[in-house]
């Protein structure tokens, strides 16, 4: 519906407004289309988005007053309060021993993103002393549909001027082709790679949630598949968002830059969800003092930032643990960097990738118990098993591998699931490690990627019996 209905109509309307009614009308069209896009998911939460945009716009107007700081604090309290209520109230009630006290609270789609977007805006506007834009420009900055529900979190100073100087008709055929290409590559990452990988990630984690004993191969296949799934899912979404924005003449910043190629954990965070990392760095870690104070304050600042970044992904202790683990990795890396010991680049990369992958376990597992079961599988505590057909092919394996008819938690639990998983993981890791990020690809390479993937995307979009939602929609 989005691809063959909403997008063409919105784009055509945008051009029509730009040609016959002017820039303001084109912006109004874009804003209205974005609200419709949001309402499509749940009409009854649209007023929340509109109220949030209106309140923040009004607050921004007050920031240049004498008591601007008080208005800023009020704005931050409003935004964080909204997020706290919708995202964390049930979780906190549970922690306080009153689960169910608040009933069910629907998490509005994209609230984590549009709240942070507006916090950035208030802080930046306060620092700049004023905001001179119109409501439409502000509304488009927050509500522009490509980034409304799953980012990237864009900086006001980068985006609002683009809406202010937007020329709807300028080089639109080139813009459309360029944006559509990136959109299609992102779509392929999601539909072709991420969704295929989910078939190997999900059964392993589902088995762990049930306390089933995962064997070594099942656990590693599930983890390697999930590491790729979340990368292709979210970087695919980011590419789609950047491509969509480009069609409308807006340039979003790069959000993923081959993070699994990182040689250390700091580099990983400079390449993974770059806009979110940037938000936490510039609006939390640095205001807390960053590394400018003593050693323990630096450790505290880093751990607090990463724990909150973890909690941002979801109201659960396992997300806190995930953030905490990354905090610990960053602290250790900071200490290591100051020591005289140097790791060879290959070893640094392998260590970083191992840490990142192992930290995905609590992030993806249903709970701590499931994460424990999963780690036991990864450590081989439940043994190593292989379908007997492969043991017959390599009889030497009988000495240390248990023969089973099929591996029950690997893909579709068929004999051929294992070779299929090996091939899929090899392809996925080749794309993640050996190819450049989609926005750094040469034109020829993009064309080749499109030839390789477009028909498979088409198949997944229109002819697959089911589709999986984007992982980051739940955050």
């Amino acid at each position: 519906m989005f691809v063959i209905g909403f997008l063409p109509v919105t784009f055509a309307g945008f051009l029509w407004c730009g040609r016959y009614a002017g820039r303001q009308m084109a912006l109004a069209w874009l804003f209205a289309a974005s609200l419709l896009f949001y309402a499509w998911w749940n009409f009854w939460l649209l007023p929340l988005l509109i109220a949030s945009i209106l309140v923040n716009f009004c607050l921004a107007r007050r920031l240049s007053c004498a008591n601007g700081k008080a208005w800023l604090i009020a704005g931050l309290a409003f935004n964080l309060g909204l997020l706290a209520y919708f995202k964390y109230a049930v979780f906190l009630a549970g922690l306080l021993g009153r689960p169910g006290a608040l009933g069910t609270i629907i998490l509005p789609l994209g609230i984590s993103f549009f709240t942070f977007q507006q916090i950035m805006f208030l802080v930046d506007s306060y620092k700049a002393g004023s905001f001179a834009g119109t409501f439409l420009e502000y509304g488009c900055f927050v509500g522009f549909f490509p980034h409304l529900i799953a980012g990237p979190i864009v900086r006001p100073r980068d985006i609002i001027p683009q809406f202010q100087s937007l020329q709807p008709l300028a080089a639109w055929p080139e813009r459309l082709a360029d944006g559509a290409e990136l959109f299609l590559l992102g779509l392929a990452k999601k539909l072709v790679l991420a969704d295929s990988l989910a078939r190997f990630a999900d059964p392993g984690f589902a088995a762990a949630a049930l306390g089933e004993p995962l064997t070594l191969i099942e656990a590693w296949v599930a983890l390697l598949a999930y590491g790729l799934q979340i990368y292709f899912d979210f970087s695919g979404y980011s590419d789609m968002a950047i491509g969509l924005a480009r069609m409308f003449g807006i340039n979003f910043p790069v959000n993923f830059n081959s993070p699994y190629k990182a040689k250390n954990i700091s580099e990983f965070w400079r390449c993974w969800n770059i806009t979110l990392s940037g938000f936490f760095r510039d609006y939390l870690y640095i205001p807390l003092g960053g590394n400018r104070r003593d050693e323990w304050r630096w450790v505290f600042n880093l751990m607090l930032t990463m724990c909150l970044a973890g909690l941002w992904h979801g109201a659960a202790l396992r997300f806190l643990l995930w953030g905490g683990l990354h905090g610990v990795f960053l602290v250790i890396h900071g200490w290591f960097r100051r020591s005289s010991v140097k790791l060879p680049p290959g070893a640094g990369w392998a260590l970083t990738l191992s840490c990142v992958l192992l930290a995905w376990v609590p992030f993806r597992a249903a709970n701590f118990a499931a994460a424990g079961v999963f780690y036991a599988g990864l450590a081989g505590l439940h043994g190593i098993a292989l379908p007997d057909i492969f043991i017959k092919m390599l009889p030497v394996l009988t000495h240390f591998v248990r023969a089973v008819p099929v591996l029950p938690y690997l893909g579709d639990a068929r004999t051929l699931s294992l070779p299929q998983a090996v091939l899929l993981l090899a392809l996925g890791w080749f794309v993640a490690l050996a190819l450049p990020a989609s926005q750094q690809m040469s034109r020829q390479r993009r064309s080749a990627a499109l030839v390789a993937s477009f028909a498979l995307s088409l198949q997944a979009l229109f002819f697959a019996p089911y589709s999986l939602p984007f992982l980051y929609f739940q955050f």
């Binding site: 082709a177 299929q420 030839v451």
Partner: protein
Amino acid sequence: MRRLFLCCLGSVGLYVLLFGLLLERPLSIGLLQLELTQKTARLAAMPSPKLVILAGSNGPYSHSCAVLGAMLALPCENAGIAVGIGLDVVFAHEAMFLRRGDIVYMPMELQQYAASAQDYSAAPDAVLLLRYDRSLLPGMPARRVLGAIFCCNLADLLESAAEMMMSDMRGIKPDALLEAEYNEAGDRIDAIPPGSPVGPVRLVPSATAIKTGYGASLIAHFVAAETRQGVIVIGGMPTDFASVRIPAPSIAAVAAIYASNGGGFLLLPTHSQYPPDNFFNSEDHLSRPCQAAHSIRLGLRLAAILSRISQKPDPIDMRWAASCPAA
């Protein structure tokens, strides 16, 4: 824009070339195709009147043509293959070999009736259509044709690579694989207990879903066309766990599809439902002893309906049936 368009077009061309002409899946799709070819060839060579069992995998697993054929003194072909193969494909292959006086027994799985047109456009047999049965495509609805052209995803591509590699490495012969699984009447003979653990029980389609399903319309059309040319078509219930409650309106809806198109309907006192230990690896698949027991019950009823004198089953089949836990 031109480059983008050409890339997309090239991608579709490459896709059709790969999945339509180059890639094979000798151990799964190829095996199904071979099974279909073998069963169709046997059907073509069989004299009339003959008995034909048409269903998904419930046919060959839970029904024995060897038993039924012997009891009714008719040549019999168990023509069912798998529920994933669309009925339009099955009927197109089988119908041309049915003659006046032939008897078709159809214990179709209930989901076959409820399958929607959309299910058919993303059906697992699409790859079979594109790779081996392209001649059937011109007579099919546009959505089904498009579904066949866009039959495959990345997993299929990788599976092709894995199957082609394994088939080459191990020198697997598809004919030999089928020979170990089926007898000459097309019955599955390798479902020897103990089977694999049985998966979760699926939902029974409602009477409305059965009545309005696209699959039901295909079946109705087939029954009407065949009865018009003198073939005796008898519907039946597929095997299922005794614990599954199949609502009476759902059974009535199935019966009505046959009755209103000139066919008959046979409902065993057991409703073809048995305890889980009678099954091999799913609710459609009885183990071999219970396949024999179920077929003997069915043979007696079919003989009565067809006014034929029922013969005694083969002693070997009697022994198989005696070892079925419910028998």
